[in-house]
Every structure is written in structure tokens, then in C-alpha cells.
Amino acid sequence: MEQTDGELVDGLARDFAAGRQGALAEAYTRFGRLLYTVARNALHDEAAAEDCVHDALLRVWRTPGAYRPERGNLRAFLVTCVRNEAMTMLRSAQRRAVREERFERLEPDTQEGIEVPDHVEARRLRDAMQRLPHQERAALELAYFGNRTQREVASELGVPLGTVKSRLSAAIRRLGAELRVEGTPA
């Protein structure tokens, strides 16, 4: 009569949505590594990534109604929250750097021992990205892996802002369809 992992995650999602004690720590235990990975890859700084995950998780856990099941599963919701928090921090850091007249794009840090994923899901995503139209893939790579704003993407690709929005949106929808069609939920 033990619960399945899926049932436990469903229970965790309900507890998290209600801001119940224990749910924050349990969510971090389950998803912390992925969330930290998202923040670290955007910010390239250990302390900033730690603060990013901490602040993002705490904010949504303490805000009634911030997470609702119709927003998707809890892991995906938290990934989105941390990504947005990281991009806010990154923009803020870049603005500070501009003010101090020493702007340079943050380069990847060089911590040793990082693990470059080569699991099935990562390979499926890479394959699906290769099948994207070139223009959509270029926009997505700049926006997600290059952490560029829409305006920066537009400038680098030499296209209007609206075109960037359309390409990014189409790329995400196309990837979602590809990953679902292959049989495993994305």
C-alpha cells in the first residue's frame, strides 16, 4: 500500500500550493539540483545562483495562489520561476556593469566537475532542436543558451522584435510537439 512516486509528487504539489510546512524543503530535495543548474548556467556565479534559487522558491511558496496545478507540474513551474528570477538578476547585473562602464557579457565559469548531460532526454532535445527551422533554432539558442533579451536577439539577427517573438514562440511550440510525439511527455 506504499504510494507511488507520482502520487507523492502530486501530494507535494498540493502541499506546496497550500504553502504547508515541509513542502518547500521536500521540493528542494526533489528538484534542487535541476533548479540550481538553471540558475548557475544563466548567472555563472555560485553565490548568485544560490540566492536566485533561494529567493525564487521562497517567494512562490509564501505567495498564496502563486502555484496552481493548471500551471503545469510543480517541477516545470519551479524551473520557469527560477529561470525568470535568474534573468532578472542577470539583467540587473548587466545594468550595473553598464553604469560602471565595464560592461562585458558574463562568460561561463570554469568550475571543474560539472556534468554535461548525455541522457536520453538531452539527446532527444538536441535531435529535436536540429530539426527546427534554422531561423527559429538560432533565435532560441541566443535567447536560452545565450541568455539574450528579445531585443538583443533582434539586434544580433538583424530582424524586427516582432519576428524574434514569433520565432521563439514557434520554436518552443514545435519542440513541445516533437517531444510529445516521440512518446514520452516532454
Binding site: M1, Q3, G11, D15, R20, Q21, G22, A23, L24, A25, Y28, T29, G32, R33, Y36, T37, V38, N41, E46, A49, E50, V53, H54, L58, W61, E70, R71, G72, N73, R75, A76, V79, T80, R83, N84, A86, M87, R91, I114, E115, V116, P117, H119, E121, R124, L125, R126, L140, A143, Y144, V153, K165, L168, S169, A171, I172, L175, G176, L179, A186
Partner: protein, 212 residues
């Protein structure tokens, strides 16, 4: 502001590509729009796949401690584990040198010691169980985070088992152990049960609903 719909913003939102003002506007819209919530839910699955393709980093231990503190989860699992390990190892050692009765008695005391030590280090609540007949009085002490429960019945009972419910799922946590004038059961990995039901061989004895 609540625009009728948001164009491509759902997909841009999940990858963090909206400008801060656009994001605030979109999040406000999202609260009242189930269509966009569904679109975000779909797109966020792709965002998760993108995240899983990134070079992985191990978070610092300090981050987990900070969040556990914020959560109010005060009981350190490692400490509880070591307490269990010490008590269990000692009980086994005693069982080797004492007769069976003495060893059983020691193990019973060890169980009680573990339960009490865990309770001392926890924030907990209690609830009186509702009896389905004129049965013995019973009470449940439980951690505020649902990590453990301690069931106490005010007389020795035989063959009474505790079933822990969470949602529609039940888990048999084992039989209460008579000891002295009471019977007890300590469940160290209770996993936040919502309801506890005591079953004797002929039916339900008592139940309690746990709130967190």
C-alpha cells in the same frame, strides 16, 4: 491590465525572454486566463527539457540548509538517523549478551527512547482519536511537518494495527506494541498522513484526522 490574449508571450515567458514589465503584465493576465495557463503549462515542459540539457551543477549544501530553515523543518534528518543507528546497534549488542526476554525488553525501551528523543527535537501537534465504540482512549502525537507519528492507546491491546491514509492511499504502519499499561506505535517515516485509523481484527477501533 488583462489583455484578451497574449500572443506569443506564454512561450517567451517560460524561457525568461520577456522584459520585466512585459512579464509582470503577463503574470497578471495569467491569473485569470485558463487558456494561457494551459499554454504556459505546455511550454514549461519544453523549458524543463531545455533545463535538463544544460551542464549540471551540484548545489552547495548551504542552500538546502537555508531553505529548510525558512520552511521551519527543524529536525535534521542526519541526526535522527544517527540516533536510530546508535540505539539499534546497542539493542542488537544487548540482545547478544542478554536472554531473549531481557533483549526484547531492552528493544522496547530503545523504541520508546527513539520516539521520545525525536519528539523532544520536533515541533509537534496532537489529536485525540475518535472511537467507533466504547473503546480505549487514544491519542496521536505528530510532527508539524508530518515526518513522524506516535500513537498511544491507554491500555494494552493485541493485534491492533495502524493504517495511515494520505489522499486515497493507505499504508499499513504496523501493529501497536503493548508495554506496561499502554500500547504505542512510533512511525518515524510517516510521510505526512492525513488520517490514521486503528484496526483490530474485527473492525475499526478509532480514527483521527491530522491537520498541518
Amino acid at each position: 491590465m488583462n489583455r484578451s490574449h497574449v500572443g506569443d508571450d506564454a512561450e517567451l515567458y517560460v524561457i525568461g525572454a520577456l522584459e520585466p514589465a512585459e512579464r509582470a503584465e503577463f503574470e497578471a493576465h495569467l491569473k485569470g486566463c485558463t487558456d494561457c495557463a494551459k499554454r504556459v503549462a505546455d511550454a514549461s515542459q519544453v523549458a524543463t527539457a531545455l533545463a535538463m540539457s544544460l551542464p549540471a551543477y551540484e548545489p552547495p549544501h548551504r542552500l538546502g540548509r537555508r531553505l529548510a530553515q525558512a520552511d521551519g523543518a527543524q529536525v535534521a534528518p542526519r541526526r535522527r538517523f544517527s540516533l536510530w543507528a546508535v540505539v539499534a546497534a546497542t539493542a542488537v549488542a544487548f540482545a547478544g549478551v542478554l536472554g531473549w526476554q531481557d533483549a526484547a525488553l531492552y528493544q522496547e525501551r530503545a523504541r520508546t527512547t527513539v520516539a521520545l528523543a525525536t519528539i523532544v527535537h520536533s515541533h509537534f501537534r496532537h489529536v485525540t482519536m475518535t472511537s467507533s465504540s466504547v473503546g480505549p482512549a487514544a491519542k496521536v502525537l505528530y510532527a508539524r511537518d508530518g515526518a513522524w507519528v506516535y500513537i498511544v492507546v491507554d491500555r494494552p491491546v493485541a493485534g491492533v494495527r495502524a493504517v495511515l491514509w494520505r489522499g486515497a492511499t493507505a499504508r499499513d504502519a504496523g501493529a501497536l506494541q503493548p508495554s506496561g499499561g499502554v500500547s504505542t506505535l512510533f512511525v518515524s517515516d510517516a510521510n505526512r498522513p492525513e488520517r490514521i485509523v486503528l484496526h483490530e481484527p474485527l473492525g475499526v477501533t478509532a480514527s483521527a484526522t491530522l491537520t498541518y
